[in-house]
């Protein structure tokens, strides 16, 4: 499991240690459910996020 306190320190996040203790179980649970999924996404699948570019007005 990830060391969330070390990660918070590495990212210089100002999250107090007691607050990190509170969120650790939720993050651990998410890690447990999400990690196997992330490891098995087929290689060619692209993200669902679509960035649309506005159509240029004709001169």
């Amino acid at each position: 499991m990830r060391d969330w306190k070390m990660l918070a320190r590495a990212l210089a996040l100002d999250i107090p240690e007691p607050d990190l203790d509170k969120i650790k179980p939720a993050l651990d649970a998410l890690e447990t459910s999400f990690r196997p999924l992330a490891a098995n996404v087929p290689h060619l699948v692209e993200p669902a996020v679509v960035f649309s570019c506005p159509v240029e007005e004709a001169e």
């Binding site: 969330w4 990660l7 918070a8 607050d19 969120i23 649309s52």
Partner: protein, 462 residues
Amino acid sequence: MTILEAAAALRARKISSVELTQLSLQRMARLEPQLNAFITPTEDLAVERALRADDELARGIDLGPLHGIPIAFKDVFSTKDVRTTCGSKLFADYVPGRDAAVVEALLGGGAVMMGKLNMHELAYGITSNNPHFGAVRNPWDTRCIPGGSSGGAGAAVAAEMVFMAMGSDTGGSIRIPASFCGVAGLKPTSGRVSRYGVLPLDFSLDHMGPLARSVRDAAVTLNLIAGHDPRDDSSSLQPVRDYLPPPEADLTGVRIGLPENFFFERLDAAVDAAVRAMARVGESLGARVETIRVPDIAALNAVGRVILLSEASALMERHLAHREDFGADVLALLDQGRLIPATDYINAQRLRRFLIDEFRGVWKKVDCLFTAATPAAAPRIGQTSIEFDGVAEDVRLASTRLVRGINVLGAPALAMPCGFDAAGLPLGLQIVGRPFEEHLILRIGAALEDATQFHRRRPAGL
């Protein structure tokens, strides 16, 4: 009385918009001390608009079925010159200079705005136990939560303070309060209703939709708010249609899917029975009910949580230096999102596409899915867990378990009452449809409503 009934009465001159508005104001005056559904009531604006509606209707100017009807907006919708707090201390004094697209459409259709509704702080939670504006209470039992995040919307509609309230739904925030408050709640397809002018919680999963006293009232509202809006990048070009179901909706030929996996696990027995009973009602109206195996909903939920945690934290990061401005539960979620790496966020968006593709197989076999909207009736205010089969589950995770994944799919979903538990609290059915087939799930919902009349029951104590 529903919107359609009130609209008919207005046109028959049996009642005026001012009278409807005064009735709403009287109920607000009487019930608000108990329910706390509103953050900013707008009484003067309401009476002024109602007077104008009566004058317009008398002169033959008819703006449609919401003309002269009292409604309200969750406090995420920007309203010109009326403060829009998002249920947050951060926006406590924010007064927008413009209306959200949905507000424009509804007020343009002659609706009478009664005010801005209380909600879970920043729309980030399901209790509506707001630390800055007070807890919203459930009209069916004021010891219970109304659900959230559109909790004020659910409470105001159930208590008949307004005919319809606009809500937003990122992981169930329309359908959960609809279920707990015994009203209809529609989360439309992604891109069907403009998000322009709505204070966002998230970019990928936010949806706007109505909570109303009946399915047909949700449908007439959708008729006004659906459609392309170039101001919203995610707005769809898919053509709109008339969403109002026919007077006697027929379900012949409709294939209802009852999921054999996930959705009927860890349910209160009364909820399980009520949802299956609604499928039988559908069958009696001509539909065919088929059991079906659905793709991995737990995976959809995990993907939804990674996307929401990441996007909400990105959005709010600049405010997080002032931790005292946030309630403890919202702060905990925002802290979690800051610890999710970008690689996980991208992979969640890749998984989202993969799971949407997998779900296409479901829509080849059935036209809709019947599930519970919430696994149990409304929990008590302050309750932290619900027990299913002897195992405790966090209230937030349990309440979002059956609805969150549908936001990841972007599919439309309707929540509506399907019965009551032993304590008399409403239970909610969820009907999930193919993208852009709101008309079908609304037709199914209206047929079930006509047959059961559950929507006519109102909280006894009020």
